[in-house]
Amino acid sequence: MAMFSAFNRLALQGFGGVLPVAQRELVDRLQWLTPQQFLELLSLSQVLPGPNIINLGLILGDRHFGWRGAVAAMAGLLLAPTGIVLLLAISAAQLRDVPQVAGALRGMGVVAAGLVLSTAIKLAPGLRDHVLGLPTAAALVLLTAAAIGLLRWPLVAVVLGLGAVSVALAWWRSGPEEPA
């Protein structure tokens, strides 16, 4: 139940994407996860196919309460927002041409961009103790951002290409001497 209401709460706050809200709720407010744990869970959710935030909710719910926790997190994320988005869809036909509505949507889109960027900034300190060292990790961040954001390369190619390089480096650097 806590799982349902936590994810319901963060889903309903998430205009233009739930991820920034998830970071604030799960790490800052509820303190269910440390920033490092959040970053690792997020990375796992991004590699797996499917919506990142839903994967994150499923995995977190499952680790704490088994399949019931997973179902609760997913229901919390989807139930109320699906109802709202369908009501919006029904009324959209009438509202589409009102310039004020279009303007408000545009403004909310800009804020959504700021929210995603703030998530990136908050997660960045997690790279300080990164196994690749800060300079290499930072270079990988910039390369990824440029390849997807500026060059618009397909995601699969970037993840398989840069991701493979990065994972291989991490494998090599982590070394067998560390406790396995």
Partner: protein
């Protein structure tokens, strides 16, 4: 049946059981290709729904995506709007469960396997290697979301204000969203 109720359940088109299965199976197939989120499979959804079946026009399809982004909740809900526009509530069932069922099953299986083998060197290298990419993808997403508006003064100020609120205060992001809606309403961005 009451025609209004019929439209609600099955949508405005003559959408039948065979169409429903096609929609469901197509979204199931895309589910496992959606690395990085459902938004990455939009081009193929468009090809299927608009190009191949002509269930929606180009403009209608774009409206579905915009609505999904604007509404509260996960962005993946744009697939529910596509489903609703094509086939009413039955269409929602087809697109939403089609999109989520395969990926959710895989996520749970992978997570349980990963948790048991959390200490293996391979898995540690895997997650550590991907964290810089995760942050890079967030930066790219922020950048792409800004493109429709461009780097105009109002937009830059709004992004700066959002960053300040999120990094320097403990207020809910809802304040930033409300401010953004107001600024847009007044024509500042």
């Amino acid at each position: 049946m009451n025609p209004l109720l019929h439209t609600l359940l099955w949508g405005p088109l003559h959408f039948g059981a065979a169409d429903w299965w096609q929609l469901f199976l197509h979204f199931m197939a895309l589910s496992l290709l959606a690395v990085g989120g459902a938004i990455t499979t939009v081009p193929d959804m468009q090809r299927f729904v608009v190009g191949e079946h002509r269930w929606l026009s180009d403009a209608q399809f774009n409206d579905c995506i915009a609505l999904g982004q604007a509404a509260p909740g996960p962005n993946v809900l744009f697939v529910a709007v596509i489903g609703f526009s094509v086939g009413g509530l039955a269409g929602v069932l087809a697109t939403l469960t089609g999109t989520l069922l395969p990926s959710a099953t895989l996520a749970l299986a992978a997570s349980r396997w990963g948790h048991r083998n959390a200490q293996s060197r391979g898995l540690r290298a895997f997650t550590a290697g991907l964290t810089p990419l995760t942050i890079g993808l967030l930066v790219a997403t922020g950048w792409i979301l800004l493109q429709p508006v461009g780097l105009r003064l109002g937009a830059v100020a709004l992004v700066a204000a959002t960053l300040w609120l999120m990094l320097r205060t403990r207020r809910s992001p809802l304040w930033a969203i409300a401010a953004g809606a107001a600024a847009g309403l007044l024509g500042w961005v």
